[in-house]
């Protein structure tokens, strides 16, 4: 009996491992390991393989889905227009569930698939983990919306969105220079990287500006439904402007609850507020007069935005948010960077990365989020673009 048990265990162990290897086998055909400078397979040398990573399931799925859809849209357009340097583009988007460990798994899956450049990841924490892996492989990484500082700490990583500190800085400067208020209250999510990142820089810059932060009230992801305490504190402190460096879901609740408690004040937000006009069961008239600093507004007048928005709506039945716009621009930035350096799909991953690194600093992408001057990149990975300040009037964005 014991012997058979032993045999059984060995068998089990064996099958487990074979299972491991079995799942691994399809990769053998594609480029085995990026660490050696072997060129990726010449057999599929006529398409670019671009990977994407983001949360398409779980709590942050709305951001991942937006990026996925917009990236698909951009790839389809690029392919219809003849591809990059005459080569077609293939996109493979993997789910990371907004978790660093899963993101690394997704990254490895894409590597097995033969990815040559990465558009991702969408959220900050996974992005930092993936950037580290990508740096080790010298893989070109362009994050559409990973806004934490560390996302682009390596020279192979770039991003389309503003960094968190940049947004905080720009917001503080905007409020100070335009004398929007003298007493400012901040309500932010201390458990969120994006929100606390913006808040910290905002508070730092506020010292140099002509206004005073009278209340800084935090909430966390676990209690983001009732904001009456925070609103009351802001009210008691006499704040004439409330700065909301948060996402629109919470912001819509804050606006609603502020209205109910009779607190009439100005609200100012960052790009996370974009999307507030499409919140369901929310009285959008409450957003009247809300100001936000965002690189993208879905109802902007320019032709590129309108075309993008209508196509996106037609295909996915939803109004695109800034994540979608960033991803769309990101895909075109990869295209432009590849074209600037004549990148071809038969180059090795490392060579593509070196070329793209050089390419991206030399290009200007007009894009949806670029404003009038377009987006340029510096070698440290940060984009240069001007934030647009908009104010919501009659249920639509209006430039300030």
């Amino acid at each position: 009996m014991k012997k058979s048990k032993m045999i059984l265990s060995v068998l089990l162990a064996g099958t487990m491992v074979l299972g491991l290897a079995g799942c691994g086998s399809p990769s053998k055909s594609t480029s085995d390991n990026a660490s050696d400078s072997k060129t990726s397979d010449s057999s599929d040398g006529d398409t670019f393989k671009i990977g994407g990573i983001g949360p398409t399931t779980g709590g942050a799925a709305v951001y991942g889905q937006a990026v996925k859809n917009a990236a698909e849209l951009a790839v389809n357009e690029i392919n219809e227009a003849g591809g990059i340097n005459g080569k077609q583009v293939e996109l493979n988007f993997q789910d990371d569930e907004h978790d660093a460990e899963k993101a690394v798994n997704a990254y490895n899956t894409l590597k097995d698939w033969g990815m040559q450049a990465l558009l991702g990841t969408v959220t900050s924490t996974p992005c930092v983990a993936v950037a580290n892996e990508a740096y080790a492989d010298n893989m070109f990484l362009l994050s559409p919306s990973g806004s934490a500082v560390e996302c682009v700490q390596y020279d192979n990583a770039f991003r389309v969105c503003f960094s968190d500190p940049n947004q905080g800085l720009a917001s503080a400067q905007y409020i100070g220079e335009n004398k929007l208020a003298s007493k400012v209250a901040v309500i932010y999510d201390s458990s969120d990287v994006y929100s606390s990142g913006i808040y910290e820089k905002f508070a730092e810059e506020a010292k140099n500006q002509d206004f005073e932060i009278v209340a800084a009230e935090a909430f966390t992801a676990d209690n983001n439904k009732d904001f009456s305490t925070q609103i009351q504190k802001a009210k008691d402190a006499g704040a004439d402007l409330v700065f909301l460096p948060i996402y629109y879901t919470e912001a819509s609740l804050i606006l609603d609850q502020a209205k109910k408690s009779g607190y009439d004040t100005k609200f100012f937000g960052c790009d996370g507020l974009d999307g507030i006009l499409s919140v369901e069961n929310f009285d959008t008239s409450l957003t009247e007069g809300v100001m936000l600093l965002t690189p993208f507004a879905a109802d902007a007048e320019d032709e590129a935005t309108q075309k993008f928005v209508s196509e996106y709506k037609e295909k996915y039945g939803d109004t695109p948010n800034q994540f979608a716009a960033d991803a769309y621009d990101g895909m075109y930035a990869i295209k432009a960077a590849f074209e600037a350096e004549n990148v071809t799909p038969d180059m090795s991953i490392s060579d593509i990365c070196e070329a793209a690194k050089k390419g991206i600093t030399s290009i200007t992408v007009d894009g949806l989020t670029g404003g009038e001057e377009g987006i340029t990149w510096t070698a440290d990975g940060e984009p240069n673009k001007s934030p647009k300040a908009v104010i919501i009037t009659d249920g639509a964005y209006k430039a300030m």
């Binding site: 014991k2 032993m6 491991l20 399931t57 899956t109 930092v128 990287v193």
Partner: protein, 357 residues
């Protein structure tokens, strides 16, 4: 009696052997270059989850108490280890530093285990489940607002924001609240992971077959009887729980040194994670260490293997989980398994349907 002891020894050796054989086979695949990147990336997480499942099995299976905050101990170990590594980066050689980080993570997690255990394990009933549930959430939330910085004057702590640390020039913020710790050196390797799994197994299996372990199991089986023969209930419960917590801490250190970034998200250190570990234990069989290992490996691999199914992946995962549970533990399925067991194929008459130890 002698034969029984031999049985356990043999059984334990099979468990060790299983891990070692799996290790050797994987190494062969790695060296021959036929293991995909995904699988190579999964090796260390697999070790982490195996250690977690084993350590929780000590609490649930051997001690007979329910813990719903195991991810909290993992979180403590992870942050302690990562913090230590970040502080001493460059001053201590890599291998030694990682070793110390593991010890420290285990120690701090054990201290928290004892702190929680002292009041709770004196009580009868499911209080440990309630308290550990709260503990896990508290730890996660504290880590989300904790700021720790280091400068020439020493360490600065704050629960508010980065500015209130008042760091001197050249100071470095190590734990940045919600942003956690980033830039932890990547020290975890599969070999270290397997060594830790073996050490965990060694500790738990030896504990189970020791005088102390038998006392713990006596408490589980009949508290009153155990008390009547003079077993110090609180002491033994506390011991088992502290060991379990410290092993979870070790898993946390391993986890933290595998990723460049460490944040306390609901996804990795929240309630769901604790339940996930409990699922490994329940699916593998409560009190069955070998089962825990297999369940942890299978359930960690499953969502990754299903990546090809895209959006249906999590749905399928849930269905597979339910089917596996039913297949493993429903009486009818057990009957069926007994009738069609592999052992029969080997021509044995004695169909011991209840595998494992």
């Amino acid at each position: 009696m002698k034969k029984k002891m031999l049985n356990t020894t043999k059984n334990n050796l099979i468990t060790y052997g299983m891990v070692i054989i799996a290790y050797i086979i994987v190494q062969i695949f790695v060296l021959s270059g036929s293991l995909s990147n995904l699988m190579q990336g999964l090796l260390v997480p697999l070790c982490t989850y195996v250690i977690l499942a084993l350590s929780l099995n000590l609490t649930v299976g051997v001690l007979g108490e329910l813990s719903l905050g195991h991810a909290g101990f993992m979180c403590i170990g992870a942050f302690t280890g990562a913090f230590f590594s970040k502080c001493t980066f460059g001053t201590i050689p890599d291998g030694l530093r990682f070793f110390l980080a593991i010890l420290l993570g285990a120690l701090v997690a054990a201290i928290f285990g004892i702190l929680i255990g002292i009041p709770v394990l004196r009580l009868r009933g499911d209080y440990l489940a309630i308290v550990t549930l709260a503990f896990g959430e508290i730890i996660k939330n504290v880590m989300n607002v904790l700021y720790v910085g280091k400068d020439s004057a020493g360490f600065h702590f704050s629960l508010k924001d980065q500015m209130s640390l008042n760091l001197a020039d050249g100071g470095e913020v190590i734990i940045k609240g919600a942003q956690g710790i980033s830039g932890t050196p990547k020290n975890s390797t599969f070999t270290i992971g397997i060594i830790l799994v073996l050490i965990t197994l060694f500790i738990i299996l030896n504990l189970m077959n020791s005088r102390d372990g038998r006392a713990v199991m006596a408490i589980r089986d009949n508290r009153i009887a155990a008390e009547s023969i003079g077993i110090n209930i609180t002491k033994y419960k506390l011991m088992a729980f502290a060991v379990s917590a410290s092993l979870a801490g070790v898993a946390g250190v391993l986890y933290a040194h595998n990723l460049a970034t460490l944040t306390a998200l609901p996804k990795n250190f929240g309630y769901n994670m604790s339940i996930m570990i409990l699922v490994f234990v329940v699916l593998g069989g409560i009190g069955n260490m070998r089962g825990s290992i297999i369940a942890a490996v299978l359930l960690t691999l499953l969502p990754e293997v299903l990546r090809g199914l895209n959006d249906y992946r999590m749905l399928i995962y849930a269905v597979v989980l339910i089917v596996m549970m039913l297949f493993n533990w429903s009486p009818k399925a057990q009957e069926w398994k007994a009738r069609h067991s592999l052992k029969k194929l080997f021509g044995r008459k004695d169909t011991a349907a209840k595998g494992g130890n």
